[in-house]
């Protein structure tokens, strides 16, 4: 298969390219997908992986094989919410 050019953007929100990911892997030697994410910012932008998760997972699969390590966590909020709206829910908290 044609190798993706290093220029190709993997994470659109943060503008992280394959080349940047390769450089980070070489320098910092992450040992899991979570760690790769944290040192490159892959998936840490506004979409929080909604768009790019399959791309990141495929990179994780290629680099770290072990499936259990390629599962990235989901945390609240599952959609962006303004801080103002976020706190409103506590007023109505049961």
């Amino acid at each position: 298969m044609p190798t993706h050019n290093d220029e190709v953007i993997l994470c659109r929100c943060e503008g992280i390219t394959l080349g940047q990911v390769r450089a980070a892997v070489q320098q910092l030697q992450p040992t899991s997908l979570r760690e790769l994410k944290l040192v490159t910012r892959l998936g840490m932008g506004m979409c929080q992986g909604r768009v790019c998760r399959p791309i990141i997972q495929s990179v994780g699969q290629a680099m770290f094989q072990d499936r259990s390590e390629t599962r990235l966590a989901y945390q609240i909020p599952t959609r962006p919410v303004s801080f103002g709206d976020f706190v409103k829910a506590d007023d109505d908290y049961e």
Binding site: M1, P2, T3, V8, R50, P54, S58, T78, R79, Y93
Partner: protein
């Protein structure tokens, strides 16, 4: 706001569920992020056995069926960003916060599936869009994404959008295959992609349908790949180009072209590269179920490739590992709208039993499950050639969980 059932997602599954629940007299909140209910139905316009499948019309019918029940409250243009247990059942946090929390005794999650993107060099240029976007633009708003485009990524959905675009009078340079490499392989090899296209059973898409039977043989696929012309094999007007791969989007301020390359069949290496002029590129990696709310709610999930991704482990009634939390539609496996609608009815029946304290013995779900299977068989589109295996696998996981503490 406190209701008996919250339905998250007003696509075909959610609408079907809300309609049934409304008819049963429950107080329902129907929540959807989009201002118009209908989910993926809105963008669908297919030809199928000489009938036209008009998704918007289908959606309107489902919506009308729900609107007749006044106990169903519509909460459109609101996202659910948290789903957690509450003393009375469940608490759903909404954004915008109006209301900010919905309390429900039971929840039906019908959040559907989302697109899998295909990264290409320069794919952030204006003019690159996903299939769903192209469908909404053309079918919902009547806007063509461009004058001449190309669809990158071969799967039943991309075939559907290609047909829709052609029908809308948009020129296409055909469907080309998605690239992959050792590091970024979102949709699999060319062979994987081919296998998904030939899962398209009906749709009158002969010769694909006939070929489909032969395509299970690897040598047939390879023969076609090496002998198909560069310009593609015309199938109902859509040029399927099985040995041409997209490598980059071209343009400086917006899309002006697509860079393509011929793939050698045996080792998938690039042979030649050239450009073709297009003003939009539709990337199609298929759909994947959205597991976000399930993960947040601590529902047990499983990775099932035949269902296109991560799905909750559900009982035959659609109940997840969390009591009172049900799941239906594309969120439990990417299939057609007909299947989603049938699942919506099943989920509603399950919730009804749950709320009335009736038995949720999974064997009692057989008739509803049978209806879902019929819908599956009647569907023109199967998003994965081995969907039946996926369904079985999920059922096996559920039975396994019964044994677990």
């Amino acid at each position: 706001m406190a209701v008996e059932v919250a339905v998250v997602g007003a696509g075909p599954a959610g609408l079907a569920a809300a309609g049934e629940l409304g008819a049963a007299g429950f107080r329902v909140a129907l929540i959807d992020e989009y201002p118009i209910p209908g989910g993926r139905l809105l963008g669908q316009r297919y030809h199928w056995k000489n009938l036209v499948w008009d998704g918007k019309q289908q959606a309107e019918t489902l919506v009308d069926n729900v609107r007749q029940w006044h106990e169903v409250r519509w909460l459109l243009q609101r996202s659910v960003y948290d789903l957690e247990r509450a003393p009375s059942g469940w608490a759903l946090s909404l954004n915008p916060g109006d209301p900010s929390v919905v309390y429900a005794q039971a929840v039906v999650v019908a959040t559907g599936a989302t697109e899998v993107p295909i990264p290409l060099v320069n794919w952030t240029l204006p003019g690159v869009l996903a299939v769903g976007a192209a469908q909404v633009m053309t079918a919902v708003y009547g806007v063509a994404p461009g004058r001449r485009g190309v669809v990158v990524g071969a799967n039943p959905l991309s075939f559907a959008i290609a047909e829709e675009l052609l029908e809308a009078g948009v020129k296409l340079a055909g469907i080309v295959m998605a690239p992959g490499s050792e590091n970024v392989d979102v949709v699999g090899s060319l062979d994987d992609q081919w296998q998904r296209i030939v899962g398209l059973r009906g749709g009158g898409a002969w010769p694909l349908r006939t070929l489909g039977r032969y395509m299970t043989h690897a040598w047939v696929r390879q023969f076609l790949m090496s002998h198909a012309p560069k310009s593609g094999v015309p199938i109902r007007g859509v040029r399927l180009r099985p040995n041409v791969v997209a490598t980059a989007v071209e343009g400086t301020e917006r899309v002006t072209g697509i860079r393509l390359a011929r793939i050698a069949d045996h080792d998938e290496s690039i042979r030649e590269g050239w450009s073709e002029p297009v003003d939009f590129v539709c990337v199609s990696g298929g759909l994947r179920p959205v597991p976000d709310l399930f993960r947040i709610a601590r529902v047990k999930t499983a990775w099932v490739p035949e269902l296109s991704g991560e799905v909750p482990v559900i009982s035959p009634w659609g109940e997840t590992s969390q009591t009172g939390l049900f799941a239906v539609g594309n969120a439990i496996g990417v299939e057609s709208a007909l299947v989603a609608i049938a699942q919506g009815h099943l989920g509603a029946h399950g919730v009804t039993r749950y709320l009335r304290g009736q038995s949720l013995d999974y064997r009692l779900a057989e008739p509803d499950q049978h209806r879902i299977q019929l819908a599956r068989e009647q569907s023109p589109i199967a998003f994965h050639p081995k969907i039946g295996q996926g369904v079985e696998h999920l059922r096996a996981l559920f039975l396994e969980s019964l044994g677990a503490p």
